[in-house]
Subunit: 339 residues, 2 copies
């Protein structure tokens, strides 16, 4: 039986396991927490992500190893020959290197680099280890920024989009319909797909350039700003992604199943939408299941995590719901958040 | 966190677990085999199904207990207060008692009882513990049949149908679209749903009578013969059922999720079809996953069981596939069977 190793045993690992068990796969996860969410669907190796001994235990007998977060050490991925390929991880871990690659590939971005290049006001971000809005600040007056930081033009975008893509070992590439995302306090709250009038072909063309450049294998999420119909690349994540959770019920094949198919060299599944989906993150807390499951078209995903302020403990996908139901559900979810 | 106990850790338990983990449930299974398929999605208590000590270990701390096969001892279900209610199990375990109940409820059946009642030729079945065609024989000449047996009229049916139903603790009842089933050698090979021109309303009416009579809670499968447009009840199973596996991808809510919702007193999910589904059992062996996953609309479910002659090791559901693809896939699956 095929064994998949995964660096990280959070909710993404858990959903990979739920998608992979029906394919006859078995799973082993590496996580420092003995109560990691993925432990319900596979063996758990408790250890540090960068501990070579723990990594060796993760990899022992595994047919393939993958990872579920983008701050994993490149050395760990190299040690285990994990997929997606380490080069994608390495390039994505430095915002400046990432954006320079976009520029080299002719993928449009907001202006970036020094304050001289961006003008003021600007967003200053740490080059490494920033996510969910941590490690970034707005600058309205000139200031010396360090070599570990990067200035970015503040873009008045119309909407935040992302495209989830998958590329197989044979180079075949597929894309799910574009997703429109809403963040608050730097955390994703809502994703919708498909998006009315979305520039699907252009997004696929840009993401395809990136995937081919990286010799990518697996699922990749590519975040974009839509500025008056023009797409600007923000960043990519070399993994399954929160803005692709709607694909579990909302697409023929989910991002989780296709990631596994890709890294195992299996044929990719169809990525078309099966309806109109809205995904709501459950952050800090969740309304009672009785309430959520009574909503039409609701699919609940709890990650088995204790509620804690700002923590994603689950998500809810509404397929085919009207806008009124979506608005009411959003209010319900927000009122339970951080409760 | 809610803990669900399940008597039996086969593929049905495994699929209950896969449906229930996203709802934030945890699982514990009782099975005599240490390699039971459900062990991948929950804790496994290894023991005999009728061992009171093992049953007590299964039930300890569980919020609800259910079962995944219909030959579980009634005493075990009573001991744990398991759902569906023991009365449904008890009535269904004796074919004669079951059919007498159908008659009492005005649910049409083929003639049954003694050979005098059925005429010849007739099918003679053991009253208890028969499934998958085991324990039945055709009788063309008169013979003394034992008290442990039951004669049934041989019906020239046009098609075998089943309806999967779910009833909540509050008595709310929902039905999935009718399923058309094809057996060979007494084992289910193919299920299709929805069925063109199926007598949905009549089937729901008959199944509803049965559910209400039993004060049922959970999913129930009701097998019917269609004889020139007239429905005759064959038998029911008080559990999730092979002829309902297509609901995982082919319906808004699967039989597995709704069974859990029902026994936990949660609102039931919608049971409508999301397309046209064909489910093929993988028996004795399976074609390579590379082949199956390359088929359009294919969803693979392997149960983690070693191939063995006549053993169901998985199933494949094709959603929205044309008849040609279905026929080709069936040939592929049959050629790998018992290989």
């Amino acid at each position: 039986m095929t064994l998949v190793g995964c660096i990280g045993g959070g909710q993404l690992g858990r959903m990979l396991g739920l998608a992979g068990l029906p394919l006859g796969l078995r799973f082993r996860f590496l996580d420092p927490s003995p109560s990691a969410p993925a432990a319900d669907v596979g063996e758990l190796v408790v250890g540090a992500f960068d501990d070579p001994v723990a990594l060796a235990r993760l990899g022992a007998g595994a047919d393939v190893v993958t990872y579920e977060f983008e701050n994993v050490a490149v050395a760990s991925v190299v040690q285990l020959g994990a997929l997606p390929p380490y080069r994608a991880l390495e390039l994505g871990q430095d915002r400046l290197v990432e954006k320079e690659m976009f520029r080299r590939l002719g993928i449009p971005t907001a202006r970036f680099g020094s304050l001289a290049e961006t003008g003021l006001p600007a967003l200053v971000k740490s080059r490494r280890l920033g996510y969910d809005g941590k490690g970034q600040r707005r600058l309205d007056a000139d200031e010396v920024i360090s070599d570990h930081e990067l200035a970015e033009e503040i873009v008045a975008f119309d909407r935040e989009l992302s495209i989830i893509a998958v590329r197989g070992t044979d180079g075949e590439t597929r894309f799910w319909p574009l997703v429109e995302n809403a963040h608050r306090d730097g955390i994703l709250r809502v994703s919708r797909s498909p998006v009315q009038g979305a520039p699907q072909a252009e997004a696929e063309e840009l993401a395809g350039r990136l995937l081919d450049e990286l010799g990518y294998v697996g699922v990749l999420a590519f975040e974009l700003f839509d500025v008056g119909g023009r797409l600007l690349a923000n960043e990519f994540a070399p993994r399954v992604h929160n803005t692709g959770h709607w694909t579990i019920e909302g697409a023929v094949t989910s991002q989780f199943e296709n990631h596994l198919r890709a890294i195992l060299g299996l044929p990719l599944g169809a990525t078309g939408a099966v309806g109109s989906s809205v995904m709501l993150n459950l952050i800090g807390g969740a309304p009672p299941s009785e309430q959520l499951l009574g909503l039409p078209g609701a699919h609940l995903h709890l990650y088995g995590k204790e509620p804690r302020r700002g923590r994603k403990i689950g998500h809810l996908t509404l397929v085919g719901a009207d806008e009124e139901t979506v608005a009411e559900t959003l209010a319900l979810v927000e009122s339970a958040a951080d409760g």
